[in-house]
């Protein structure tokens, strides 16, 4: 186990290092810099001296390799750089926004599981009946309706027919006002959870169908267990492995920021931070957010691997 952990750790470090270089290069290869992002076409009105003064101010006058190593050196000391636009250090800025995205992601996953797993089980148990058909239609809908459409529709219906709109640029956090916080997050979470629920439903359905034909399910039934115990204790647990993988991957994506949903519902999460950082060419902020997303993915994949062992004790990482 220890050997496995060490291997994973070094592989992760290597991945992180590679991705920081990739992001660093990519954002600089995109035309435009902080000066044109700030000034737009007015950047052309600057004299050469004025432009040089601004490049010094933004640290753009130094060679890119030097910029990268200065940044990397900072990272090892917990300093991800400084956002001039926001007038703050990158790390606290990201940490401020992260809880919004975490909460939103957890809610979205919960909603997806609550909808997806029961429908998936029902669909599998009542295969080729009208229940299965409804379930499959639901999953097709979820996969084909894009987030921006669903989000906009929800906002439209809420504001026009109910005269309410909890999200109007006044986000409050969970500890300030839990009720308003939930009101603000539930609709974006439904928006995000809906399409994921479809994937969960499909995955649960196909895994259940497979497991229901296994010998141990037949044995369980033969032992005289109730159908309920057979399904929940024996079949479901074993069909959850692919679902857990799915949750892991999806959670990683969600934590990387729900760019569109956060934008439509004006939630100050990581996704919106990243969009603004990219359009404003805030290099340090883009790099910081990318680093966070990579760390998330690595951690979540690791946790998922550990959870496999818990769900299915036959899986072991000891060599």
């Amino acid at each position: 186990m220890r050997q496995y952990l060490a291997r994973r750790f070094f592989a992760s470090l290597f991945t992180m290092f590679g991705i920081t270089i990739l992001v660093f290069a990519a954002i600089r290869l995109v035309p435009g810099d902080q000066i044109t992002a700030q000034l737009g076409t007015e950047a052309g009105m600057l004299s050469d001296e004025q432009r040089a003064a601004m490049e010094r101010y933004y640290g753009l006058d130094r060679p890119p390799v030097e910029q990268y190593f200065t940044w990397l050196g900072g990272v090892f000391q917990g300093n991800l750089g400084y956002s001039i636009r926001q007038g703050r250090e990158v790390l606290p800025l990201i940490l401020d926004r992260f809880p919004v995205t975490i909460e939103l992601s957890i809610l979205a996953i919960l909603i997806a599981l609550l909808i997806g797993i029961p429908i998936g089980i029902l669909s599998a148990l009542r295969r080729n009946t009208w229940i299965d058909l409804v379930g499959r239609v639901f999953s097709m809908l979820g996969l084909s309706v894009p987030n921006f459409l669903l989000g906009t529709l929800i906002i439209y219906v809420l504001s026009v027919y109910f005269g309410i709109l909890p999200n109007s640029g006044n986000y409050v956090d969970l500890f300030q006002d839990p009720v308003l916080n939930l009101q603000q997050l539930i609709f974006p979470a439904i928006t995000m959870g809906f399409s994921f629920a479809s994937s969960v439903m499909r995955m649960t359905r196909s895994a259940m169908l497979e497991v229901l034909n296994e010998g141990y399910v037949r044995t369980a039934r033969a032992k005289g267990l109730t159908e309920r115990a057979v399904i929940l204790r024996h079949a479901l647990r074993n069909s959850l492995i692919p679902v857990v993988t799915l949750i892991g991957v999806e959670f990683g994506y969600l934590l990387g920021g729900a760019f569109i949903t956060e934008q439509i519902f004006s939630l100050p999460g990581i996704g919106r931070l990243a969009i603004n950082a990219i359009t404003q060419r805030e290099y340090a902020l883009v790099q910081g957010v990318a680093l966070l997303i990579v760390i998330n993915f690595i951690l979540i994949n690791f946790i998922v691997d550990m959870v496999y062992g818990w769900i299915d004790p036959r899986i072991s990482y000891d060599s």
Partner: protein
């Protein structure tokens, strides 16, 4: 068991979420304003984005301001006069004005502010508008004399820009104005959380009448449809909108008051006459004749725009029927193409910025269908805004759909394009002696009638030589709940007059 608990938790969350219906806004006497784009910074001397100016004009003030008809009004200066030869400009300053930090406003602050604006290291893109100032004197605390190196009539209009806002000399000397926001304006900045919320409180010591609200809370809602929804749900009082496709949804809405004002900015098809075959006068004229401007406004912008010539300000704009080929004339366009030996047509690459303005792609598509009539095949290149700006600045394009900002003075509006050594000459892509000499004459002429004639000739000449094809001026939109009163929108989209607004919930 676990599933049951989870289910119960979910139900609880749903009930909590939907239960509290008391969601309508009650901001007390604070105006809640929503807009899609936030300021990019707080230093009035260096900010150029409209989104920044919309915030800074609530906090800072220039020496002179513009009313809703764009005529000059006293601001921090109460009176002004050019000398006979136009080489000095004397301004009398308002007495009893205090900065937000409590210090007095005097001539020293004016001189420090203009010195900062003119210094190269400040990197102010607006600096070129004030280069005629060689020195400043303060005979007393409330008089400033600007000594100029040439008669510069447009200087006064340039001083009405919030880029020429007056900062405290003390802040300039000891602080960074990008971080320390001390103005004289009707509102004080309490906090700015970029891309989220800006809190302003009323300046009780302001010299004018007002403000009539306790403060303003500016919320950034990145999606304009969501702004519309917030307004309809009553969770915001006041909204700034850009997209005509969104704003027009409010036209018949009784629960919201919509204002629309033709703006000074203009949509234009920029041609680069330096590139073949656009170097042929007849080809450019043919494009101008083949374009149907009204159709562009109707199809791309749902009729939301005013067809304009090169000058958009009411005081100088010529009626468009006095300009070359402003009515579509496809026959004439074909003849012109034939005269240029281009009857077979050619391919014209047209670049545009995605969503800047929101209707850019639609404009390009309508133009493409119109130019197809004279065998010109338009190839549309849609670019991300920064990429577009980079290429626009160096003139790396054949044609471009652009939304360019307007100014209240014709010289200030076009001196960057149509003069020898103008900074945007590569972008403009065309110059002739007539344009250059008309611009030079327009800068120094002090008599309004004579100046009007100069710029009338200037507009006719531009339309006739068609280096660009001017299309229409979009509308600027503001919308508010009926409980908000006293708002008067201005053609330069300024929010300065929010000090007049009151709320009756």
């Amino acid at each position: 068991m676990f599933t049951k608990k989870l289910f119960a938790l979910a139900i609880l969350i749903l009930v909590l979420s939907l239960g509290g219906a008391a969601l309508a806004q009650d901001g007390g006497n604070t105006l809640i304003l929503a807009r899609a784009v936030d300021a990019t910074g707080l230093d009035p001397h260096t900010q150029t984005a409209f989104s920044s100016l919309r915030l800074l004009e609530l906090i800072y003030e220039p020496l002179v301001t513009l009313d809703s008809d764009l005529s000059l009004q006293p601001g921090l200066a109460t009176a002004w006069a050019f000398s006979e030869d136009g080489m000095t400009l004397t301004m009398n300053l308002r007495e009893g004005v205090k900065f937000h930090d409590g210090s007095d406003f005097t001539a020293e602050d004016v001189i420090a502010s203009f010195n900062r604006l003119l210094a190269e290291e400040t990197a102010s893109a607006a600096r070129t508008n004030y280069l005629s100032i060689v020195s400043m004197d303060a005979p007393d605390d409330y008089t400033v004399v600007f000594n100029l190196n040439t008669a510069d009539v447009p200087l006064l209009a340039a001083m009405a820009s919030f880029n020429a806002a007056i900062l405290s000399a003390d802040v300039i000397a000891n602080e960074d104005p990008a971080l320390v926001t001390v103005g004289t304006g009707p509102f004080k900045l309490d906090s700015w959380t970029p891309e989220e919320t800006t809190l302003l409180s009323a300046n009780a010591d302001w010299w004018g009448e007002g403000p009539f609200v306790d403060g303003i809370e500016i919320r950034i809602i990145p999606d304009e449809t969501s702004i519309l929804a917030a307004l309809r749900a009553g969770t915001v009082d006041f909204a700034l909108l850009n997209d005509p496709l969104v704003a027009t949804l409010l036209i018949d809405d009784q629960s919201v008051v919509l204002h629309r004002v033709p703006s000074l900015s203009y949509n234009v098809l920029q041609l680069r006459a330096a590139i073949e075959p656009l170097d042929k006068l007849e080809v450019r004229q043919a494009i101008s004749c083949a374009v149907n401007r009204q159709e562009i406004v109707d199809s791309a912008a749902l009729g939301e725009g005013r067809i304009v010539g090169p000058l958009t300000m009411a005081s100088f704009a010529l009626p468009t029927d006095e300009l070359f080929c402003y009515e579509q004339d496809v026959e004439r366009a074909r003849e012109l193409m034939a005269a240029a030996g281009m009857s077979e047509g050619f391919t014209l690459p047209v670049m545009l910025a995605n969503a800047e303005p929101p209707v850019a792609a639609s404009i390009a598509q309508v133009i493409a269908s119109q130019l197809a009539e004279i065998n010109i095949t338009v190839e549309i290149e849609a670019l991300e805004f920064s990429v577009y700006v980079d290429r626009w600045l160096v003139g790396d394009f054949t044609a471009a759909v652009a939304l360019n900002g307007g100014r209240t003075d014709p010289y200030t509006m076009y001196s960057r394009y149509w003069q020898v050594d103008a900074r945007f000459q590569p972008t403009a892509g065309y110059l002739d002696d007539t344009l250059d000499s008309l611009m030079k004459a327009g800068q120094v002429e002090t008599d309004f009638e004579a100046r009007y004639q100069i710029f009338a000739d200037f507009q006719r000449h531009l339309a006739e030589t068609s280096p660009w094809v001017w299309l229409y001026a979009p509308y600027g939109y503001t919308a508010h709940l009926p409980s908000v009163s006293g708002w008067e929108p201005s053609a330069n989209d300024s929010l300065y007059y929010l000090y007049n607004v009151s709320i009756n919930r």
